[in-house]
C-alpha cells in the first residue's frame, strides 16, 4: 500500500499546535520542558483563547518561552514570576494568566512570591516544572533534589546538612487560596494525556474566579542527571515518583484524602 494514501490532510490525527512556532526548542534532547510547553500550547489552542492569554516566563531552562510560543509573554526576573503574574492579573482580570517556573525559581529564590500568590488566591495558573536539579546553570542542587542525589554542588550526594527535598504542591495545597493543586508527569504517552487534562482544568478554573490553580510536572533532566533520555525517565519512575507521587492533591478547594 502506498504510504501517501495515508499521509493526507483528512487523515491527520496529531500535529504540533499552531500556538508553537517552528523554532527549535533550546532544551536538551528528551527534556520534559518541551512536552510541557507543547501542552500549554495545545490547551490554549483547544480553548481558543490565544487572544486572551498572557504568559509569564521565568529564569531557568524555560526562560526563552516567549521565543517558541505565539502568545503575549512577560519575562520575569528569577523567582518573581508569581508577583509579575499577580500584577498582570490584578489589572487585567479578564485575561488568562499563567506562570511557567522551574524548581529553582518557584521553590528556592521565589518561594515567598509563590507562596503568597497562592495564599492570596490569585486567579492564575501556576505551572511548576520539578526536575530536581538546576538545569540551565549546569546541574546544581535544587531545593527539590532528592536525598543522596548527586549534582554539581552536591557531588557526593545531597546530605542532611544541605536540607531536604521540598514537596511544593503539598505545601501550597495547605493554603486557603489554592483551588486546584495537582502533580503530573509527561514522560509516557498516558501520563502526557492525563497531564493535559489537568492543565486544561487549571486554565478552565480561571473562569470560576475561585483561587489559584497549581500544576506541578515532575520531569527528567537527563543532562543534569547525566543519563540518556530513556534511562533518565526510568530513573524518574524509580526515584522521583515515589517521593513526588502523581495525582490531584487538592480539587475544588478541598484536599484530596487518599483511602489506603
Amino acid at each position: 500500500m502506498d504510504i501517501n494514501e495515508i499521509i493526507k490532510e483528512e487523515n491527520l490525527v496529531y500535529r504540533k499546535s499552531a500556538v508553537l512556532n517552528d523554532k527549535v526548542f533550546n532544551f536538551c534532547p528528551g527534556c520534559g520542558h518541551g512536552v510541557v510547553q507543547k501542552l500549554i500550547a495545545e490547551v490554549v489552542e483547544e480553548m481558543n483563547i490565544e487572544s486572551e492569554v498572557i504568559g509569564v516566563g521565568s529564569v531557568g531552562c524555560s526562560v526563552l518561552v516567549y521565543e517558541f510560543m505565539e502568545l503575549d509573554v512577560v519575562s520575569a526576573a528569577h523567582g518573581r514570576a508569581a508577583a509579575v503574574a499577580t500584577g498582570i492579573k490584578r489589572v487585567m482580570p479578564d485575561k488568562y494568566v499563567f506562570s511557567l517556573q522551574g524548581d529553582g525559581d518557584l521553590a528556592a529564590i521565589g518561594t515567598s512570591e509563590s507562596i503568597h500568590a497562592c495564599n492570596r488566591g490569585e486567579n492564575i495558573t501556576m505551572i511548576f516544572i520539578n526536575n530536581g536539579i538546576y538545569g540551565m546553570t549546569g546541574g546544581q542542587m535544587a531545593p527539590t533534589s532528592l536525598h543522596g542525589m548527586k549534582t554539581a554542588t552536591s557531588p557526593y550526594g545531597r546530605n542532611e546538612a544541605m536540607g531536604h527535598p521540598i514537596r511544593m504542591s503539598d505545601v501550597v495545597a495547605q493554603l486557603e487560596g489554592t483551588y486546584y493543586v495537582t502533580r503530573q508527569a509527561v514522560h509516557t504517552p498516558a501520563m502526557v494525556r492525563k497531564a493535559k487534562k489537568a492543565l486544561r482544568q487549571a486554565f478552565e478554573n480561571q473562569k470560576l474566579n475561585k483561587g489559584l490553580s497549581f500544576v506541578e510536572f515532575v520531569t527528567n533532566c537527563n543532562s543534569g542527571w547525566k543519563l540518556s533520555p530513556i534511562k533518565a525517565n526510568q530513573w524518574l519512575d524509580q526515584h522521583m515518583l515515589p517521593f513526588y507521587p502523581l495525582g490531584d492533591i487538592k480539587t475544588e478547594g478541598v484536599i484530596v484524602t487518599k483511602d489506603k
Partner: protein, 76 residues
C-alpha cells in the same frame, strides 16, 4: 474487515534523536536513521511503516513536537 493503518512524518531537521518516540512506540514502527541531520542528530523514521497504527504515542511524548501522525481505516 477494516484495518487501521497509520503513518508518521518526522520533521527531521528539528528532531534531536532522543529516542523517546521509538521507546514508546507499541508496534516497533520507529527506528533511528543512521544518517544525521545538520545538527548531527540521528533522527526518527518509520523503520516498519506497515506496523504503524497511528496511535500518536510517539508524537504525544515527543518533547520537540516534530512528529505529525496520520491514520486511515481501510476496508479489506
Amino acid at each position: 474487515m477494516a484495518k487501521i493503518r497509520g503513518a508518521i512524518v518526522v520533521d527531521t531537521e528539528r528532531c534531536k534523536g532522543c529516542e523517546l518516540c521509538m521507546y514508546n512506540c507499541p508496534t516497533q514502527t520507529i527506528g533511528m536513521e543512521h544518517k544525521v541531520n545538520s545538527k548531527g542528530y540521528h533522527y526518527a523514521y518509520m523503520e516498519n511503516p506497515e506496523a504503524c497504527i497511528g496511535c500518536t504515542n510517539c508524537a504525544v511524548v515527543c518533547p520537540d513536537g516534530v512528529i505529525t501522525v496520520y491514520k486511515k481505516k481501510f476496508e479489506q
